[in-house]
Symmetry: C2
């Protein structure tokens, strides 16, 4: 039935927007494809432990959602999100010491969409964003689409070196400050209280939106809790949080906490992009949290990840060669390794895959492309046995190549 | 704990990107908010009939999904979508006469995201898009963000006036041709076979991607079926389809059908925007379709909408004043009214709301802002009783104001 012009059809010659052509696919997602080969022990992704997903509870709640919300869980819904869930989140946040109302909360399809909406609302081609160096590669990918540039600030074990921030602001006039303040992806570093106070002061002085991407904050299993940036900064801070790491990522339910007037902008662009977030899953997560399942579940995750982190640190200590250093995060999913400066973690990866162990090399997390000798290790997704074996394999690999 | 600078926090002065400030919120979603007031009979939205949602089946299948897919339905998933669902869709499309492989299918968060990804990949500021006049307001909203301009083509009861298309292409060099070929939103018009052949020929001649936004194609309840544009145009056509109108919109599961090479671009930008679509809901819909629930459910919807459409047409015929004309769609969700040219459907709306009946006025569907005397009526969402009462109220309103 084709109209006989098939030979002339040339979709490969369709003109793609220039900045899309230049966009790189996420290196992490490419590595995930490789590392999901059978038998590979993967420290590559940022995947939660699958054995902890509360499947039986979710099964019960799915049925309850249909009985309780009936057609509402299947119908078109509001761009801001389901009212019950937004109310619960506002209340939860208020109880954590940050007074929040329902209109401060906008539900997104994962925090990735929150990052995307921020870029969409604030960034025009060539604008600068101030970030930690390194920073979350998925955020860079979202920002890159908008042709953002980066003013990067180095870190030590207390987070961003605040001394550098004001200088960078004066030089680059960034539109946003983007930080992952808790158990940072990729380094696992948490910003200290003093630095938080300083950063809020500076963001407020220059009136720059301070974005706190905080997916791991609830997952602290060592050290002393530090209040969220929003506790110090109030309306100056836009917070991104998610159920991906504390319940399950497959439902893609996360939220932004911002002022009402800024949320009007986010709502507007959210409408254009996908109308609204999955209604059924919003009701499902609302039932999960409102029936009290969240807190015990977080405790369960923390207990598990604590063990995994301790084991990983111990095997690293026991087996890794001199000249390699790593962070000792107090929570989250990742730790960060620095190899001797002449070693390329990227070049080592194929050899690691041969040994049936995978990681993400660190370079893509640096907006400037440095960090060849760094790698990120995830400790949440593998089993204890896998961690022991995988780290030993990496140790062997490094000893043979250093 | 706020750092004492609260008086200086000025998020209202944050610099929003210019083209976002200019963006208008969807008039339909605003009207939906008004028309959801209790007691209002609404012909405003594009909402499926809530009483038809297959709730009991979905309840059973939710439990099955958890048992069968276990942690997979909760974990991070692929940007292209869940393999099982993509395979089923490819097979379904092939059986409809359009040979399709799994890599032609990319799952999106509703067709709105499909439109968004198309704009993202193809449109740069100032680019033209060729559309029907009027066309889907949600597409205009998505395209407007990318600062698209419009080359519009008038319609008659057979769809786009093809004579105008080539002239417009020569004049405006559009990057995309965007059509809703079946039971168009807002007019309810379906493109004839001859016009389809002609449109494909022209799109192929100029090698312009031909976008067939086709959410209603399965919902024909009168007249003779017409093959999809892709049957004629093959790879020249990118098709958008969705489960929103044939199962339920709350799950936000839709798909794009395009060549593998173009899908690589869509996959890349989908990664940036939200990583992937809700995994649980993809498995849920896969179980729904693969267990054979789709076809009987579509029959049920068609039987219901057929009755509603017939009643609406009959009450219009019986009660509406001279000088008003309307389309008689053979499927879908909408019909389209033209009032005498001196009547503004926008100005009448507040009076309609007072009479407890709502519609969407037609003007926002016209890229050029004309069509003041037009309105769109949805016949799927109201009950038969509601249709009878609501149309009578509108008739009274028009008689009093003409």
């Amino acid at each position: 039935m084709l109209v006989g012009l098939k030979e002339k059809i040339q979709p490969d010659k369709w003109k793609i927007a220039d900045h899309v052509v230049k966009l790189e696919t996420s290196i992490i997602r490419e590595i995930l494809k490789i590392s999901s080969q059978p038998g590979v022990i993967s420290f590559a992704g940022g995947l939660p432990a699958p054995e902890l997903f509360p499947l039986e509870i979710l099964k019960d709640l799915s049925a309850q959602v249909i009985d309780k919300y009936n057609f509402m869980c299947c119908q078109y819904s509001l761009s801001m999100g389901v009212k019950e869930l937004r109310e619960w989140i506002a209340d939860y946040t208020t109880k954590q010491g940050m007074p929040t109302e329902i209109d401060n909360i906008l539900i997104t399809c994962g925090s990735q969409q929150g990052i995307e909406l921020l870029a969409r609302v604030f960034i025009e081609p060539g604008d600068y964003i101030l970030t930690e160096n390194p920073t979350y590669v998925g955020a860079l990918q979202a920002f890159n689409y908008y042709r953002a540039r980066y003013a990067t600030v180095e870190m030590d074990s207390d987070g961003m070196l605040i001394d550098q921030v004001e200088e960078k602001i004066n030089k680059y006039k960034p539109k946003l400050i983007y930080t992952i303040s808790n158990f940072q992806n990729p380094t696992g570093i948490t910003m200290s209280e003093d630095r938080r106070v300083e950063l809020v002061k500076i963001a407020t002085k220059y009136n720059i939106p301070l974005i706190d991407d905080n997916p791991y904050g609830e997952l602290r299993f060592a050290g002393k809790p530090v209040p969220e940036l929003k506790s110090y900064g109030g309306d100056q801070v836009v917070t991104l949080k998610t159920f991906s790491k504390i319940v399950a990522p497959g439902f893609r339910i996360a939220w932004m906490n911002a002022t009402k007037s800024i949320n009007r902008q986010f709502e507007k662009v959210k409408q254009c992009t996908d109308l609204h977030t999955n209604a059924f899953s919003q009701y499902l997560l609302y039932e999960f949290v409102s029936q009290g399942f969240l807190e015990p579940h977080i405790e369960k995750i923390k207990a598990d990840y604590r063990k995994k982190r301790e084991l990983m640190l111990k095997v690293l200590e026991d087996t890794f060669p001199e000249g390699v250093s790593w962070t000792k995060p107090e929570g989250g999913l990742f730790l960060w390794l620095e190899l001797p400066s002449h070693i390329s973690a990227k070049e080592l990866l194929p050899k690691a895959i041969e040994l049936k162990v995978a990681y993400v090399y660190g370079q893509p997390f640096f907006p400037g492309g440095e960090g060849e000798n760094t790698m990120r290790l995830n400790f949440s997704n593998a089993t204890l046995e896998g961690i022991e074996q995988g780290i030993k394999r990496l140790a062997r690999l490094l000893k043979e190549n250093m």
